[in-house]
Point group: C2
């Protein structure tokens, strides 16, 4: 049984194509009361991008704070804000920002049509009703959130996505001009999220030719960005991210993502930097990938923080291990069906202690 993979059905790519967003959303404004919600990273408040958001009179510009990774409580609160804004549901939800903002947009679009708290839907295919039409405008590239069928949320009990075909965006607007001013560290961490999940996918046991074709090209594009410093690096990183996301269709991430989920859950470490920190201690599992990663890290002049787990309480360490080892498919992809005999709690602890 193979998964029938749901793709984003509409993609526009090109320098300056953000200017076409209004025209694209217009098709959803089928009656005079129609209104849209722009879920936008508050880092853009007062910036050029804010002025370019095609806001109509009835629309809601919903600034979001992504200092913390998206939480289920925050999703529930944002959904309530949208519901309380007007008596009708919006015709479109547009996420403008990085992986967290895009995931918040997906989550709000889903929760507007599915009752109860978002904690009820953390898992696989638990969503019952189609979402509100939702579109993504990435301003950071690497996470693959623009094409994935998940929205990763930290709940009271777990960090786990709402995975469903309904989660997938209806439209993606890929404008490489939007990522040209990303701060150096953020650019590296998010780009490496892409590089790392492609390594995990390509080295994994789940791989087939569909995922391989996308993953290999994504890694090649990452090299052009982070090794060659190619003049078209913004365009290339945007495509690397898109291909990296597509690569996950028939594969899975692996050890790095699993461990980094534990790290994020306990310490709130952001996903991109969390993956970098974790990947750096995984040469045993991904020798070639970790070697190349370190070269890219040096080229970019990045120093990763160290000693993150030095002051953990025993309880925190046990929670970190439990969250990481709870992600069965990731470990199975990395280590095969017998993964439990290889990645014991002690082994996981020893890896976390290196971080």
């Amino acid at each position: 049984m193979y998964r029938n993979f749901k793709l984003v059905p509409n993609v526009i790519f090109g320098r300056g194509c953000f200017a076409q967003l209004d025209e694209i959303i217009e098709k959803q404004r089928t009656d005079t009361d129609a209104w849209a919600v722009f879920v936008t990273d508050e880092v853009f408040q007062g910036k050029d991008l804010e002025k370019k958001i095609p806001l109509h009179a009835n629309d809601l510009l919903l600034w979001v704070n992504v200092d913390d990774e998206p939480k289920t409580s925050y999703v529930d609160q944002l959904t309530l804000t949208v519901k309380n804004t007007r008596s009708t549901l919006p015709c479109a939800v547009i996420g403008i920002g990085g992986g967290s903002s895009m995931d918040l947009a997906k989550a709000v679009a889903l929760m507007l049509t599915n009752e109860g708290s978002s904690t009820l839907y953390q898992g696989w295919d638990l969503i019952k009703n189609p979402a509100i039409y939702h579109a993504a405008v990435p301003t950071l590239s690497g996470t693959g959130a623009e094409v994935s069928r998940t929205t990763v949320l930290t709940g009271p009990e777990k960090k786990l996505g709402m995975n469903s075909d309904y989660t997938v965006f209806d439209q993606v607007v890929l404008d490489p001009e939007l990522i040209k001013n990303v701060p150096r560290e953020q650019h590296f961490y998010t780009g490496m999220d892409c590089y790392i999940h492609c390594v995990e996918s390509l080295e994994g046991t789940y791989l087939n030719e569909f995922s391989k074709s996308y993953g290999e090209k994504s890694i090649e594009l990452c090299r052009q960005v982070f090794v060659d410093n190619h003049p078209d690096k913004d365009d290339k990183l945007m495509m690397a991210s898109f291909f990296g996301g597509m690569s996950i269709a028939y594969s899975q991430v692996g050890a790095c993502h699993a461990l980094s989920y534990g790290l994020s859950y306990v310490l709130g470490t952001h996903h991109g930097i969390g993956c970098c920190i974790t990947f750096d201690v995984l040469e045993e599992y991904y020798p070639a990938g970790v070697k190349e990663f370190r070269t890219m890290k040096e080229t970019a002049g990045i120093d990763l923080p160290k000693g993150l787990t030095a002051d953990l309480t025993d309880d925190q360490m046990e929670t970190m291990i439990t969250v990481a080892l709870g992600l069965d498919p990731l470990w199975e992809n990395c280590l095969g069906k017998d993964w439990k005999s290889i990645m014991t709690r002690d082994k996981a602890r020893s890896l976390f202690l290196k971080i």
Copy 2:
């Protein structure tokens, strides 16, 4: 202004995934009278594949003959056959075969909901109503018909596709096992269609990073198939075709496709072999591509027919030139905005005379 590219929204890939077709179509059978049409290349009559088609009691198995490239008159006739089969429209049209069968399935799905002859819709965005749900099961790889927004038809006046977002399939079923028994020549001609349109796209003036990423990977996969004879060559050719089709999103084919359209229009030459014959005389425009093509041709042990235009009447030659030069975007992509001063009627004639 960039095109908002419509992708096939659902793709399943995997060896043996054809067995999941019934379950996939089932979702379209929303009432008890629902029936599906399987537009299938008649080459499979009495073959194993026929037995595996998931035909329900009310369904229509519509065998199609693709000895000739799809004609508008044939599309109109098939559409009428479907309309006359039952009083309701089918819930799904599934194309099983190569580029011609898939194009016929697309065309029938469109013409069931759009009035008049298919000749009315040859062009760009002339289709008014959404098509019947339509799915593709390629049994030949290379044309990219499984992902394209066109269905190429030969009408009384022109060879031109019905290009529209509605043309795009709703579902593609990519099962590499279905292409393992393709005859050697056909395998080569169709595979080269992919290789050639990627060369035309990558060497063209329209290219951007989206199309480049897809085109480059597609060519790499073609090399693994036709140079390396890779053990996974069926999987790889299927992905090469998919990527080749995606590559055309923001680019265009070029001189080879333009000239081969003229050849097909006058002599009825099939598209794959027509592209091979034409590409072989285009070293002036695609030197590296033609060189590599010739290596692949030798590796595959293929002899191309020669002297095709030797016995043409003057009228036939003039028609061939007119059809080929009528494809403005293809020439502009190949030669730039001043293409008319480069590709004169005399120049086109001299190229056709080499064929």
